[in-house]
């Protein structure tokens, strides 16, 4: 019998939360319900997969599609030397998802970046404010509906 993969394990542990799983170019991908993010991330970190490292988290704006936004988390297992990608869809009217800061300290700045550029609200984040753009900047510049030519200079510029 073949060894049980992390995807099988996740499907068995969280039958209601895992929407679909796939493998792309040797990396496993799992799409989950956003409510189950925190328990699944905790299971990944402390469970048998030992995905102890949060490599990156980011957001994708699929403008014109429903649901419009998708959060993408990249985990890395130091003991097994493998990666896992976790995705969760976000509706445009309900841009809220649990923060990963209780599990990984580096999620703090990564989530501030996503908040700054996409406007996603992370619940339970200790210090959710802009990290790249300045105070007074309006809108979220990496969204597809941010106007291409819109400039918001801090000081008066010469034409």
């Amino acid at each position: 019998m073949e060894k049980e993969t992390i995807l099988d394990l996740l499907r068995r542990e969280f039958p209601d939360a895992v929407r679909e799983t796939s493998v792309s170019l040797g990396d496993e991908i799992v799409v989950i319900e956003k409510e189950a993010l925190l328990p699944i991330a905790g299971f990944l970190r402390d469970g048998p997969g030992e995905f102890k490292m949060l490599l990156d988290l980011t957001c994708v704006d699929y403008f014109g599609r429903k649901p419009r936004f998708e959060m993408v988390y990249h985990f890395f297992s130091l003991s097994e030397n493998r990666r896992l990608r976790v995705k969760a869809a976000l509706e445009e009217g309900d841009l809220r998802i649990a923060s990963l800061t209780p599990l990984w300290k580096n999620a703090n700045w990564l989530e501030r970046e996503v908040y700054d550029l996409f406007g996603v609200n992370f619940e339970g984040h200790p210090d959710l404010r802009r990290i790249f753009m300045y105070d007074g900047f309006e809108g979220y510049p990496l969204r597809k509906d941010y106007p291409l030519r819109r400039r918001q200079p801090l000081i008066r510029l010469k034409e």
């Binding site: 753009m133 300045y134 510049p141 941010y146 400039r151 000081i155 010469k158």
Partner: protein, 182 residues
Amino acid sequence: MPGKKVPSNGTEGVGVLSPERKRPQAGAFITTQFNSLLGWARKFSLFHYPFVTACCGMEYMSAACAHFDIDRFGAGWTRFSPRQSDMLLVVGTITQKEAPVLRTVYEQMTEPKWVVAFGTCAVSGGIYDNYAVVQGIDQIIPVDVYIPGCPPRPETVLDGLLKLQEKIQNQGHDWRWRKRRS
């Protein structure tokens, strides 16, 4: 012998003006304009302040260090205080968030001062035509020399420096700084 030129030994004019006053030796003085003298002195003693924000800084280092050595042109001293520098080198991308900082640094420099836009990003924003980047630092501060290139070769930097020296030489120098009343 009349008409024949002999090399001057500096003594043949002695006693012409007055018996007590000796003429200086030939070649011991030059005539010039004060403005030209100031330009000559200033163009060979440019203390620069490198405002390095991006990858062009690598080329700046290359131009400043021994291989290309801008010290050959009298611009070798890097001052990390804007109050002690004459030439502001804006090396790299200037974002909207950084624009007030750059303007403050420029205003802290004492006269006379010159600004060099180093690289395409400082000249025009370069490939970063987006919400975050100032489209050329001449929207914030006056610029004397634009050095194109992404990043510019050190030879281009030296060429730009020579252009700036030419400009300084031919500039009208206000040598006793009058108080500017606004």
